[in-house]
């Protein structure tokens, strides 16, 4: 019934619909920034109640926009410039979807979508929070959305069209990004980065309203832990991907883009702990607010570094200084604005909760200071080349040798204090009790740490011992803490378990890093067919090359048998590894896929180099002991975070929550009353 011409035009208009949806989302965001705040200031409940529906509108239209972009990828709509640059008809459909965030414009849309999704979540799960406060929080998130949607529409529109010359084929997605890890890594990372906007909004709302008490901390905390958890997973996944994909067996390079994600994580960790103190003791309020502002500021800084061309990185998106200026302005407004608000509104009322030198408060304060120093150090190292260049002193590089040299001592100090925190009392430790609690864990740690390298590696190694001692220390302390709870007939809350498991995760990470750094080995050899090489107790035998075809690539696949040399000197077959050298059909770049035999206690890792004469190949073999413990530790940390978020006190029913807020609110008048009296 529809005339032909109209039937032809409709599909071509769909991208415009996506563009329009984004514009409407911007309109909702603008309203969201203004209306609820008007409601707060004029005490009109009706206006404040518009926050939720406005949030929903903003979310719905952003969702529509990104879904349309994904749809355009799936149907190969190459009239869209972004789709033509990052896709191809031969690309498997799952990569077509992930190509949505394969480039700058689309990933920015993903960023915006994450923001609207978090805002939606906050609007939905905030029944226990005062309406006035939530109105403020949502309005602030709306303001951030305005900035970033405007940035997208004005400088990085993913819906730009290629009229009238629509290409028949696209340029294909960068082969490096055609991988499962790279499908999930950006969404997780963005949910983390952007999630800190929630903590930020809560902090700024607290500054605006003057309500910076334990209740505010309790509301803030699950959101912050959620964002932190996503960021942990995102970073771990990135590290894991780099390991198995890039072929050099490394898992962290201190690249500026990696650092851009690590800094918010460090501050986010400090923030979670600071929120705990504010929630339980009412202290550290200014500190907590400041950390919340900094966590999100570092997220924004990361966005700036990655997209402005200011630093050199394999990870960075196409550099464009004009975009850089826009983001810098967004940064100036967001960070500058919130810090100015902080300078004027930070609470002058000193909390009445004093604490002794030996107390959990001190331990947590120390931890936070160390984490802030760590984050600042990473920032210093990342920006130093820029600083030196800007001052005209030429070009220098700051890389892994520097970061490892300064970071390890700082973190070691942190791990030592981490062992004290869980076992020390709030406010004032009982004399002698702390010593008694820490005695066994410290003794066991030292003994195990000193023995370990001798048993595992055959000889004493100070560095390894140090790492194992720290890991055991962190682990045993939380074990003791849980045991203590049961001994006192107290069932630990979910939040408590969350803390224990997260700390155990750190211990697992430390073990992984320590062992792999000291005991890994790498061999690069020329191997002819049927030749073998021995690496750390394993025999690797090269059996030749097979030609294989993939959906959009052709590859030479090595066949390598891995044997373990057992106690009798014989070879036990372990695995057949198939590393590949791929040639992608569209973007003619070579790529290698490593062949990995992974295990809990070691990875055997093989990569193909170049073909040499007579059918021989250059082959690299890595032996990586305990490397998976690094990511296992991150998984533990995330799981601990989830448990923490699901703690019963955040799911208080209606009736008891009213009591709780009433109790919490009591803190305010007391404090205010006394200040009025003095």
């Amino acid at each position: 019934m529809i005339p032909d011409t109209v039937a032809q035009i409709i599909p071509q208009l769909i991208p415009e619909l996506g563009h329009l949806a984004l514009v409407i989302a911007l309109a909702f965001a603008i309203c969201l920034s203004i209306v609820p705040l008007l409601g707060v200031h004029s005490a009109q409940q009706k206006l404040m109640s518009y926050a939720k529906p406005l949030t929903f509108g903003m979310f719905a239209f952003t969702a529509m926009s990104i879904l349309i972009l994904a749809y355009s990828f799936v149907v190969d709509d190459f009239s869209i410039k972004y789709v033509a640059s990052h896709s191809n008809t031969l690309l498997p459909y799952y990569f077509k979807i992930s190509a949505v965030w394969g480039g700058h414009e689309g990933s920015l849309l993903l960023w915006v979508f994450s923001l609207t999704a978090w805002t939606m979540a906050v609007a939905k799960f905030s029944k226990d929070i005062e309406q006035e406060f939530i109105a403020r929080v949502l309005a602030i998130m709306g303001m951030i959305a305005v900035g970033f949607i405007a940035f997208t529409l004005l400088t990085s529109n993913p819906f730009d069209r290629l009229w009238p010359n629509v290409p028949m084929e696209g340029r294909d997605l960068n082969p490096l990004l055609q991988d499962v890890g790279l499908i999930i890594h950006p969404p997780l990372l963005y949910l983390g980065y952007v999630g800190f906007a929630v903590a930020f909004a809560f902090a700024v709302a607290a500054l605006m309203s003057g309500k910076m008490d334990a209740a505010w901390a309790r509301w803030s905390r699950p959101w912050t832990v959620g964002a932190w958890m996503f960021l942990t997973l995102g970073i771990a996944l990135g590290s894991w991907w780099a390991y198995y994909e890039l072929g050099w067996g490394g898992w962290w390079f201190w690249d500026p883009v990696e650092n851009a994600s690590f800094m918010p994580w460090l501050i986010g960790t400090a923030l979670i702990h600071s929120l705990a103190v504010t929630e339980k003791r009412g202290t550290f309020r200014n500190w907590t607010v400041l950390l919340a502002i900094f966590a999100f500021s570092l997220s924004l800084l990361g966005t700036f570094l990655v997209r402005s061309g200011v630093i050199t990185s394999v990870h960075s998106f196409a550099a464009d200084p004009s975009r850089g200026v826009f983001i810098l302005v967004l940064l100036a407004i967001t960070v500058g604005g919130s810090l100015t608000l902080y300078a004027f509104r930070a609470t002058n009322v000193t909390s009445f909760s004093r604490f002794a030198l030996y107390s959990r408060e001190t331990a947590l304060l120390l931890c936070n200071i160390v984490l802030v120093v760590a984050a600042t150090t990473v920032l210093l190292g990342t920006l130093y080349p820029l600083l030196v260049d800007a001052m005209g002193y030429g070009k220098i590089s700051v890389g892994p040798p520097y970061f490892n040299a300064v970071f390890v001592p700082i973190m070691s100090f942190l791990f030592i204090v981490m062992g004290i925190g869980p076992l020390i009392r709030w406010k004032k430790a009982k004399k002698g009790e702390l010593r008694k609690q820490l005695l066994k864990p410290s003794l066991i740690s030292v003994v195990v740490g000193l023995i370990f390298p001798v048993i595992y590696g055959g000889e004493f190694n100070l560095l390894v011992s140090f790492g194992i001692i720290l890991a055991m220390w962190v682990f045993l302390v939380v074990v003791k803490d849980i045991v203590n709870q049961y001994r006192n007939k107290v069932k630990p809350s979910r939040s408590h378990w969350g803390m224990a498991i997260a700390h155990a995760g750190i211990a697992v990470c430390i073990v992984g890093v320590t062992i792999v750094s000291s005991y890994e080995s790498e061999t690069n050899v020329r191997m002819a067919v049927n030749e073998s090489v021995e690496v750390s107790g394993y025999q690797i035998e090269f059996k030749g090359i097979k030609q294989v075809e993939g959906p959009n690539y052709s590859a030479e696949q090595g066949q390598l048998n891995v044997y373990k040399v057992n106690a009798d000197g014989e070879n036990d077959f372990v695995a057949l590894l198939k590393p590949e050298r791929r040639a992608y059909k569209v973007q003619t770049m070579g790529m290698t896929e490593a062949g990995i035999d992974g295990g809990l206690f070691r990875d055997v890792y093989v990569a193909l180099g170049d073909p040499l004469e007579d059918g021989a190949w250059a082959i690299r073999v890595h032996y990586k002991p305990f490397v998976r413990w690094i990511w296992l530790g991150a998984l533990f940390m995330s799981f601990g975070g989830i448990l923490s978020m699901l703690d019963k006190r955040y799911r208080a029913k209606r009736t008891s929550s009213a009591k709780q807020t009433a109790n919490a609110v009591q803190v305010k008048p007391n404090v205010q009353a006394v200040s009025e009296l003095s």
Binding site: I369, L380, I396, V406, G609
Partner: protein, 172 residues
Amino acid sequence: MLMRLFLPIVLIFTLSFAADLAQASPVDTFEFKDEVTKVRFQALSKELRCPKCQNQNLADSNSPIAADLRKELYDLLQQGKADSEIVDFMVDRYGEFVLYRPRVSSVTYILWFGPALLILIGVIVVIVILRKKPASKENLALNTAQQEKLKKLLADSADTGSSSAPSSVEKE
């Protein structure tokens, strides 16, 4: 008008000259005179930066210049040169840029000593916070006038329906 054509063209050319995405870690097949030399090679090729790449060390870069420099590194090591001599060799030709571990000089004092300084400041902050004059019993006690005012305030808030007893925020 012609000028506006030049710039993009030159940019494309200079980009083709400079861009060299490494998708695969290169595998050299050097044979070292002993295990120590091999370990030194692996360590040094990670400390030196590829002069032309997007932030990669010599070990991971596929670009021709990185391959050349790795060969040079191998030669120098086989000749028995010390680590510091090799580093000087590279810096003489490619500048400080190729060192991932920046040299300690007046330009980098802040970089190398900054973290220690920050820790020191942090410790001082902790000490200052802990030493803040604790509110002594005398200060805390309200005088009679203040007590009257407090009673009145509490009575007012009791009228509006909330509980009068202040609850402590202590948990665990």
